[in-house]
């Protein structure tokens, strides 16, 4: 009997294995078929209903940093999917959750601001994300630097840029160029006197020749702006008095409007156009 049972076991095992393989092939084929059926999805719907990160932090049982990483990785994939039209609707909420879960994680602030600026075209939101990051990390120079850069390049709000660069240049670890950006923002804002003082300080404390050269070029630019503004004012006064434009800049001295004619940082005279009354520097600061 045992030998008969052993003999019967062989075909039964073979049948069982064949059945197993058959079922395996069947469900794999079914899966492939099911995947071709289009199902309606609401992309990102799960993340939208996540509560505030402030409470989620405690629900992660000590793994808040890991949760922040996973949500950040998800957000990168989500926001780089161009077919999701309304993906920017909850940009603020998503990056606020990441910030609450791991406030010291800097990459999401930068990436969130980049997405807000470059893709969502919501510059106010970019500032909100970066300001939130800076509030949580007051010693990180990178965040106000990014905000200053956005203010300067995208918003063209030079006063706002000045404020941000002023914040970042005094923080530990901030590179030297942040002070130069501050000085440049002052110039673009029109605060030429303070810009001059700052560039002069940069020039006098420059650690290398390259920085000295950069500062020198900017000093030339600022002085030219100060001088040409003065000369244009003087030309305007001359025109009011004489009813015509001066023939040359020396007329301004002869008329007693100016004591002497200013010269640029290289000792050259400014160029005057008697037809239009325009005044400009003899050379470009960047071609000296």
């Amino acid at each position: 009997m045992p030998r008969e049972r052993a003999a019967a076991r062989g075909p039964a095992t073979l049948l069982l294995v064949l059945f197993l393989l058959g079922m395996c092939a069947s469900f794999m084929a079914l899966k492939a078929k099911t995947d071709t059926i289009v199902r309606k999805k609401v992309p990102g719907s799960s993340i939208i209903y996540i509560p505030s990160g402030k409470f989620l932090k405690y629900a992660t049982f000590g793994y808040s940093a890991l949760a922040a990483d996973l949500i950040y990785l998800w957000a990168i994939q989500y926001y780089s999917t161009p077919t999701i039209d309304d993906r920017f609707d909850h940009l603020d909420h998503v990056f606020a959750i990441i910030a609450d879960l791991d406030p010291a994680y800097l990459d999401p602030y930068e990436t969130g601001a980049l997405i807000a600026t470059a893709e969502a075209r919501d510059i106010k939101l970019a500032f909100k994300i970066l300001d939130n990051g800076f509030a949580k990390n007051p010693k990180e120079w990178l965040l106000p630097f990014e905000a200053g850069h956005i203010a300067m390049m995208d918003l063209k709000d030079y006063d706002l840029a000045r404020q941000y660069f002023e914040k970042c240049m005094n923080l530990p670890g901030a590179p030297d160029f942040t002070r130069r950006l501050y000085a440049n923002a002052l110039y673009k804002r029109g605060d030429l006197e303070t810009s001059w003082q700052t560039w002069l300080e940069i020039y006098n404390t420059a650690p290398d020749e390259r920085t000295k050269k950069i500062a020198s070029n900017h000093l030339y630019q600022v002085k030219s702006a100060i001088d040409t503004n003065r000369l244009k004012d003087a030309v305007g006064k001359f025109q009011e008095r004489a009813g015509r434009l001066p023939e040359e800049l020396a007329d301004l001295v002869r008329a007693g409007i100016l004591d002497k004619l200013p010269q640029d940082l290289d000792g050259q005279d400014y160029v005057y156009d008697p037809k239009t009354g325009g005044v400009k520097a003899a050379t470009s600061p960047w071609k000296r």
């Binding site: 049982f61 010291a104 800097l106």
Partner: protein, 254 residues
């Protein structure tokens, strides 16, 4: 001496348990997978690797402590080998402590293994040995020691399934003490507030052993917290073990 004999036997038994190797395998997979996950990020890849690695060591370590610890004493009772053991000149406290130290030794070996894999992965990315990670790992291990004690406590009087549930509940409560703190702040003075304050002080606060975020971000850790967290872990573990010994001493196996 008898404690260490029991500990040695427990260690040998535990290292034959397949669950241990299964969990170790998944922990290793999770740590290695962090390299792949890190590719998806924009910015610092090493941060992702460190977070996933430390979380894996912690989560799988807790699972090892709970799944093996909750069956340690119960198995002896179920297989009736407890009678053989207790008929020897072996105090019940020595039995419990031996089981505890045996499992702690097992967890030490497993944690060391997981940590080695983790540190190698981090080294391959940073080309330097991140000694600060060892701080987080050391306190994760201390947390595991406490969870082990809890698992043995429940194992001394309950079935493995219930012991696992209670031990995991202990772990979750340990990471939710913030809730009590919030509640106390909102309560007005009185018996209720006093009771809540007592509960807050009495229930475990496992966040004391959580330095993962600080070491990953290189944030300063106050020097005093190292010793106070360590002593908190030691004393709480001693308290739990004492409770386990008291319960086990009074237990009748017939």
């Amino acid at each position: 001496m008898r404690i260490w004999a029991i500990a040695g036997i427990t260690f040998k038994e535990a290292k034959r348990d397949r669950i241990l190797y299964l969990l170790f395998f998944f922990a290793a997979v999770a740590i290695l997978a962090s390299r792949v996950l890190a590719i998806l990020t924009v910015g610092d890849r090493v941060k992702i690797i460190k977070d996933v690695g430390l979380a894996s060591i912690s989560i799988f370590g807790v699972l090892m402590a709970v799944l093996i610890g909750t069956s340690l004493v119960y198995k002896e009772i179920d297989k009736k080998t407890i009678f053989t053991l207790l008929s020897k000149p072996l105090h019940r406290a020595e039995f419990i402590l031996g089981k505890f130290f045996g499992l702690v030794l097992t967890l030490l070996v497993m944690t060391a293994g997981m940590s080695l894999i983790f540190l190698v992965i981090v080294y391959l990315h940073t080309f330097r040995i991140e000694w600060t990670m060892l701080v987080a790992i050391a306190y994760i291990f201390l947390e595991l020691v406490l969870v082990t004690a809890v698992a043995i406590l429940f194992s001394s009087f309950s079935t493995p399934i219930l012991s696992s549930i209670f031990s995991l509940a202990f772990y979750l409560i340990g990471h939710l003490s913030w809730g009590l703190e919030l509640l106390i702040k909102k309560m007005s003075a009185g018996a209720g507030r006093t009771a809540a304050q007592f509960l807050y002080m009495f229930l475990p606060d496992l966040e004391n052993f959580n330095f993962k975020t600080e070491v990953v971000h290189n944030l300063p850790i106050p020097a005093g917290i190292y010793l106070s967290s360590f002593l908190y872990g030691v004393f709480y573990t001693a308290f739990i073990l004492a409770l386990a010994v008291i319960i086990f001493r009074r237990r009748d196996f017939i």
